[in-house]
Amino acid sequence: MATRILFFGRLREAAGTSEQLVNIPDAVLDLASLIEWLAGDNHALRETLAAPSTRIAVDQTLAQADARLQPGKPPEEVAFMSPFSGG
């Protein structure tokens, strides 16, 4: 099953897209390795996604970079979010 990867705020520009549909390989076991896999050769994107100020939501619940992914049961949606600036 495919996973929707979402990028918000400045991260949308870093990623060059607001949304992409991916099939996460079984070898990707946690969010940190998902970042590695998504960024590929794009070092700037990797650094931005892995920055402490980036927040990650898995299926609309906040998660830490070391959060595990269940092999064979990928999330429907993973969002990478730059610092919030509402109000």
Binding site: G9, Q60, A79, M81, S82, F84, S85, G86, G87
Partner: protein
């Protein structure tokens, strides 16, 4: 006291803060204290407009978490929160927070708390458009310090 009423609305279109305040007051006849806060897009040299984005569904959920926390801390009758997304001209209302309580202190403190948390914990992203160029607005250190005021476990009780 009946169960507190919570209303959270993320608005694609302009809202009228005075009308919202009037409705909120009417809806809370048993409250002795009502606090309303309005944040508006400021007139700022050269900024033509603001563009606000949210994460549909998740933003609502995060604001619900914030209101739940406020209800745990203060005996409130009601909370109303409106937050704009989309394009905003200078002086457009961005955010409206209203709290109702039996007495003023909880109403004041809860409104203050809600705004501090909306600033740093609600998924919104803001760009300023000036002379055709967009700039992402970053959270200020002050915003984090404001939120940190509420960290002490008994603060606000």
């Amino acid at each position: 006291m009946p169960a507190p009423q919570v209303s959270i609305r993320i608005m694609e279109n302009a809202f009228d803060p005075e009308a919202e305040a009037a409705v909120f007051r009417k809806d809370n006849p048993a409250a002795g204290a009502i606090v309303t806060f309005l944040g508006q897009a400021r007139e700022d040299g050269g900024v033509d407009r603001l563009v606000l984005e949210h994460y549909a569904g998740f933003t609502q959920k995060m604001i619900e978490n914030i209101t739940t926390e406020a209800l745990d801390r203060w005996p409130l009758h009601a909370i109303s929160i409106l937050h704009r997304v989309g394009e905003l001209a200078p002086q457009a209302p961005i955010v409206f927070v209203a709290t109702a309580a039996a007495h003023r202190r909880p109403a004041f403190e809860a409104a203050d708390f809600l705004m501090d948390y909306l600033k740093s914990e609600a998924p919104f992203w803001k760009q300023e458009i000036a002379n055709g160029a967009a700039r992402w607005v970053e959270p200020r250190a002050q915003d984090h310090e404001d939120k940190a005021r509420w960290a002490a476990p008994d603060k606000g009780k």
